[in-house]
Symmetry: C2
Subunit: 96 residues, 2 copies
């Protein structure tokens, strides 16, 4: 099991409609085969300056690769992520 997450901030003002639109559009990622337990999260620690996170699980590396290559993921990254995300950090965890 791989827990894939990305912590990020948007270029949009907090509370804006553009921000809400982005977070709504991201739900398409939850529909991609292989994605389990998709979550949209608010980052609340004052010890970093990211605002949001997405988290999901994959059964194995093949499922993860299938997600990365899926047209809906590719389109989301191209059309929404790249233009609207200010900065991000990807994290992949496996059990120790």
């Amino acid at each position: 099991m791989i827990v894939h997450s990305v912590i990020f901030s948007l270029r949009h003002p907090a509370g804006s409609q553009a921000e809400a639109d982005f977070l709504e559009a991201a739900l398409v990622l939850a529909t991609i085969p292989g994605v389990e337990d998709f979550e949209r999260l608010r980052q609340v620690s004052p010890k970093n300056d990211y605002s949001y996170g997405f988290s999901m699980k994959f059964a194995d590396a093949a499922a993860y690769q299938g997600y990365n290559d899926h047209p809906d993921h590719v389109a989301f990254v191209r059309d929404r992520w790249v233009p609207e995300v200010e900065k991000f950090l990807e994290i992949d965890y496996e059990a120790l």
Copy 2:
């Protein structure tokens, strides 16, 4: 519910006994009242250079504060975390 995690790297060489000792010692955190679903994780994404993560859940801010203030947490941070951790980033998530 708050998901508190920290992604980090150790000063110890990968695969060393000192590394194993640190990860073993961290299990004390799981015994602190209020800590739920404590996990020790290996960070495997090549897109960042952290090596490990700890993750835990708290029912609310009071439980989180109780953990922060608990003598076992304070001692772990002082005696193990500060001297042995090279770098880290704390992340706190709440449901969007």
